[in-house]
Amino acid sequence: MVSHKPTKKIVSVLLHLVFLIVTFIWVYPLIWTISSSFKSNRELFSGTISLFPQGFEWRMLLPQNWPELSEIFHLSNYVKAWSIANFDQYLMNSLLFSVLVVIITIVLCSTTGYALGRYTFPGKSIFMGAIVATMFLPAGYTIIPVWQLINGLSLNESLAGLVLAEAGGTHVLYILLFTAYFRGIPKELEEASKMDGAGFLQTFIRVMLPMAKPVIASTIILEFVSAWNSFFVPLIFTIHRPDLRTIGVGMYSFVEDNASELSAMAAGATISFIPIVIVFLLFQKYFVDGIAGAVKG
């Protein structure tokens, strides 16, 4: 047993080392993007592999050398991406789009989950059955009817149409998460609230919804990330409205028109990654819980 210990230790150290190297390579495309966003176009086309822009020296990190540093780090890439390539607008569009999609989703799924989780009423099983059935039907190319529908509502080429097309579908996962959570809340709380004279709606808003915070948080983060990363729907619904483009579509059309603007591309990509990475790191727990709930359920 004693002779086993040093080898075990070596195995453990090796394992940690391998994992460190693998994860470093894993996140390197992200590091590459950030690093490229500070380089010049010319340097990027030359096949550089260095992390820092050409001419960088470590001594420049000292505060008295910062003016030199700012000459070497091409911050102008960000200015270019932000104002000339319209990333300021794309970022705002993505933010507004994602927030509106999240709000609609939360309202729809929390009310549905509440009714399904806590009450039995005529037609409940029909409703559940219909939702589940549509999940298993081969759906075909549903974006065309949705496109027609949005046109028919005269919402084509508007933010409202874009948001509806994205949020309109039935979010079965969130409905199930809300249903399961509301079902698990003890009856006494509801009874107590009713004793106090609160009605159905008041009980829902004042008692139940605050208790469902974990599910709400999971739904917010999952749907925010999903909407932020959405490409297909915004691509189709902003064809004639460049000013409504979200960041993914904006980025795509930018590189289509400016294939040689590598550094502005990298700056734009960095701008698009920052908000979502921050949101993820802050709410990682809820995100992981929501996903894990999906596979367990």
Binding site: W26, G47, T112, Y114, F127, V288
Partner: protein, 321 residues
């Protein structure tokens, strides 16, 4: 369990008070319908109607303007399954999906098993690192990767050359098979982290006492993994394989921005093929009816795969904890 029986009993008691309960019930029912109404409307307009309409449209020759009027019967379907470009896209979708499933499903389990081990320090850090690509915009990943895999001056070629692994740069995206390899690599990288989370959820749901018993029996780590963990994880294996398959089968964003189906349709996949016929027709009118038919053929193919997985889940899901 006991909480549920208590609730049942409570409801049984409440049922014994019919008069008061029924008026209360009716009021509650109305409220339930009010709560469901927004979802029902959305469901009818954005889930049910699009499914029905996508079938209806597929029988028409229709450019998307106005209401379809020129009915062509099964002609669209016949054209779809005879079109060599569709078959090529279908083949590519299958290759891409198969590549992803075969690589991701086992390797993500290995990573999850190591992350789940108490001996690994900093597992949250590693998990976060593996997960990071999952939350990034797929379309933007495609654009970034296009530059990393670039022929001249691309980062990947440069670093491979500097390490002495290759002498001349590889034209990753200029060769049909290499472009597919690159697409699979990026697809694996993008979706890997979420499967690790799935596997972790599975691993954490396993009963602990079985392991303790096995440990006492003198089974080593590998034996325990092979004979205890793996059989218990079969239901998760089926679900994860299914999710990965459907996810890969529906890939659009990545292909659109990374290779756009090229070179020479070498990475053209069905969702991209359909999109081209409906929304990005070069030199002609959109063929919405045809695109709908292609969508249904593809949807049926997806359903057949789902049925196979459904049967597997039924078969192996029974002993799920």
């Amino acid at each position: 369990m006991s909480a549920e029986t208590m609730l049942d009993r409570e409801q049984a008691i409440l049922k014994k008070m019919p008069k008061k309960r029924s008026t209360l019930n009716r009021k509650e029912h109305i409220w339930c319908y009010v709560f469901l109404l927004p979802q029902i409307i959305m469901f009818l307009f954005f889930t049910l109607w699009p499914i029905i309409a996508s079938y209806y449209y597929s029988f028409f020759s229709w450019n998307g303007i106005g209401w379809p009027s020129e009915m062509v019967g099964m002609q669209n379907f016949i054209e779809v399954i005879k079109d060599s470009n569709f078959l090529n896209a279908f083949k590519n979708s299958v290759i891409y999906t198969f590549g992803l499933v075969v690589i991701v499903v086992p390797s993500s389990l290995v990573v999850a098993a190591i992350l789940n081990s108490p001996k690994l320090k900093g597992s949250v850090f590693f998990r976060t690192a593996f997960f990071l690509p999952v939350i990034l915009t797929m379309a933007i990943i495609g654009i970034v990767m296009k530059n990393i895999f670039a022929f001249q001056g691309g980062f990947l070629n440069s670093i491979l050359e500097k390490m002495g692994l290759i002498d001349t740069p590889i034209n990753w995206l200029g060769n049909t098979s290499l472009a597919m390899v690159a697409l699979v690599i990026v697809g694996v990288w993008k979706g890997f982290g979420i499967k690790v989370i799935y596997w972790l959820a599975g691993l954490q749901s396993l009963p602990k006492d079985v392991y303790e018993a096995a440990q006492i029996d003198g089974a080593n780590l590998f034996q325990r993994f092979l004979h205890i963990t793996l059989p218990l994880l079969v239901p998760f294996l089926v679900v994860i394989t299914f999710l990965q398959t459907v996810w890969a089968f529906n890939v659009f964003d990545l292909v659109k921005t990374f290779t756009n189906g090229g070179p020479f349709f070498g990475t053209d996949v069905v969702p991209l093929y359909i999109y081209r016929h409906a929304f990005e027709v070069s030199g002609g009118l959109p063929r919405m009816g045809y695109a709908s038919a292609a969508g249904i053929v593809y949807g049926i193919a997806t359903m057949l795969i789902s049925i196979v997985f459904g049967l597997l889940i039924r078969k192996y899901g029974g002993n799920k904890v």
